[in-house]
């Protein structure tokens, strides 16, 4: 086995998912200005599973994740070449409205980012945005329950979302994201700002959420990927072309990737030889 980029490409292409693929990311190149940030990576995301993205800093795993609901469009110099299909439609297609894409493909961020409004209004935000006509109270309660936060906040729904602890804020953000019933939930290192107990709660929550939603998770923490991800994509950094360009090294069942990696680079990374 060698770890040259070409070999990595071959293996990456070999991963064939078993289940239904909700989102298929076939990216060719991602640029920030002239800088090639990520190159040729195929990342299929299966329905009802948790797909973990791991890799060293600067490998582009967050960039790839944020490309999946066009969050990167907010960065002026960002340029995407390739295709991301969601249920067969290319979300980078000419007729696609990124605003609508984001209503189906929700996102949870690294830093808990509740709005400066009450807990209730935070969760109801997306419902009101979509002019939801039904019973908002019921929907909010359900979302908070699914986010395992209801019991802690049911008596103080009028308090500011910012009055909660970090872990609670992150669960509030998850409740806010799932209140509108998105199809796919992208999570960009959702536990990196949290303590171990809050992290464990969010991980348990992710395992429950995958019953209803498809999850994609970027994490710095290999143990976390092992604990929750069904499929793991390992990204590496290629410095051969001068810059630091990320690419998909290997993707497969989490157990396989960690216990029997096909690539030397993956083996070194999961063994903790570099980070």
């Amino acid at each position: 086995m060698n770890a040259t980029p070409e070999a990595a490409l071959d293996t990456a292409a070999q991963f064939s998912p078993q289940g239904e693929v909700v989102m298929d990311c076939k990216l060719d190149k991602i640029f920030y200005g002239d800088f090639l940030a990520v190159r040729s990576s195929d990342v299929p995301i299966e329905k009802g599973k948790i797909t973990g993205f791991i890799g060293p800093s600067g490998c582009g795993k967050s960039t790839v994740l944020r490309s999946l609901n066009r969050m990167n469009d907010l960065i002026d110099i960002f340029r995407f070449e390739g295709k991301v299909t969601y249920k067969g439609q290319d979300i980078y297609g000419k007729k696609i409205d990124p605003v609508v894409v984001r209503r189906y493909i929700g996102m949870v961020f690294q830093q808990p980012n509740p709005f400066s409004m009450s807990i209730f209004d935070n969760v109801a935000f997306g419902l009101r945005l979509n002019r939801f006509k039904g019973n908002i109270e019921e929907k909010v309660e359900k979302a908070l329950q699914r986010a395992a936060l209801w019991n802690e906040v049911k008596d103080k729904l009028k308090n500011s979302g910012l009055s909660l602890s970090g872990g609670q804020q992150q669960r509030l953000c998850i409740a806010r994201a799932i209140a509108t019933e998105p199809d796919v939930l992208l999570m960009d290192e959702p536990c990196s700002a949290l303590d171990p107990i809050a992290t464990r709660q969010i991980e348990e929550l992710m395992l429950e959420l995958k019953e209803r939603y498809t999850l994609a998770l970027v994490t710095h923490n290999m143990q976390q990927a092992m604990r929750v991800a069904d499929t793991t994509a390992f990204f590496g950094v290629d410095i051969s072309a001068g810059g630091r360009t990320g690419y998909l090294v290997e993707m497969g069942n989490t157990k396989e990737v960690f216990e029997n990696p096909q690539e030397e680079l993956t083996r070194q990374y999961v063994a903790g030889e570099f980070s």
């Binding site: 907010l74 984001r102 961020f109 980012n113 400066s116 997306g126």
Partner: protein, 297 residues
């Protein structure tokens, strides 16, 4: 030496003295500087408190229902008040706020969010900063040329627009600061929920930055309420309650200016009382600014 003496000596050599040395150079210097800052702080607040003291002593007795509601007295007449001036000031400040607040907030949205680094943005930011330092009488000159000459009469409109010109830069700059304070992560969250850019601004950025925006508006209003120069040749003065916006209008600051120069005790007392009322109005706006100004971020 006995055993006990030995231990005592050993302890003395090992343990540094941690006691406070009041007469040490460093301690003396520190004490001196602390005292100096105290004195400076007290000196700095003397003008403010002496002004308020004078106003309460000289004007407090005349602030009654008659002073607050009656019309200004003529020459040797006794009694009277400045009700029309209070109404006039509030009306003109209201006109100024209605003109400058929406315009200022929209401009702030452009400067803070839409295109902060464009040439238009940096130019208007620079001009706004220049305008904050502009002598207020120039706002009056502008309104005289733009409104009084056009309408052919002194009016509340002209006074209000002169005050609006003065308020606008303060509103723009403070609102811009407040909107810039809204963390990027909240905007990201809103975009991630599927908000359009205008929804992000109206539903997240403005509500979050609102306390700061309100503070800026209140301070601008307080400043405008106390202005006299821009009203001198725009609103002029009137001895009657305002009946329409297109006629000369009384204001507290002009009334104070007029009455304080008169040779009649009654008018001079009323000028003191009007000054106190004006300070109280400004104070109320300042307190409101503080109450709303608790940032929510």
């Amino acid at each position: 030496m006995s055993n006990a003496e030995l231990t005592a000596a050993a302890q003395e050599s090992e343990l540094p003295s941690l006691n406070r040395q009041i007469l040490e150079r460093r301690a003396l210097k520190s004490g001196l500087l602390t005292t100096l800052t105290w004195i400076a702080a007290i000196l700095a607040s003397i003008p403010l408190f002496s002004v308020i003291y004078m106003l309460v002593v000289q004007g407090g007795a005349r602030v009654d229902l008659e002073a607050l509601t009656a019309l200004p007295p003529a020459g040797f007449e006794m009694g009277g008040g400045f009700g029309n001036a209070i109404v006039g000031t509030l009306v003109m400040v209201g006109i100024a706020a209605i003109v400058s607040v929406p315009l200022g907030i929209l401009a702030a949205i452009y400067l803070a969010i839409l295109d902060p680094s464009s040439k238009i943005a940096s130019l208007s930011r620079f001009l706004a900063k220049v305008l904050t330092g502009m002598p207020s009488i120039l706002a009056g000159v502008f309104a005289y040329a733009a409104v009084v000459l056009l309408m052919g009469t002194y009016s509340a409109w002209a006074g209000g627009i002169a005050l609006a010109v003065l308020m606008l830069p303060t509103v723009v700059l403070t609102a811009e600061e407040a909107l810039k304070m809204v963390p990027q992560r909240m905007k990201d969250a809103a975009f991630g929920m599927g908000c359009t850019r205008s929804q992000v601004i109206w539903k997240v950025v403005l509500p979050t930055g609102l306390p700061g925006v309100v503070t800026g508006v209140m301070l601008a209003v307080a400043g405008a309420a106390g202005e006299s120069a821009p009203l001198l040749f725009t609103a002029l003065f009137s001895n009657y309650y305002i009946s329409e916006l297109a006629e000369p209008t009384a204001s507290l600051s002009i009334l104070i200016y007029n009455f304080s120069g008169m040779p009649f005790d009654n008018q001079i007392e009323l000028a003191w009382a009007a000054s106190l009322v004006l300070v109280l109005i400004v104070l109320v706006f300042n307190i409101l600014a503080r109450l709303f100004g608790q940032p929510k971020v």
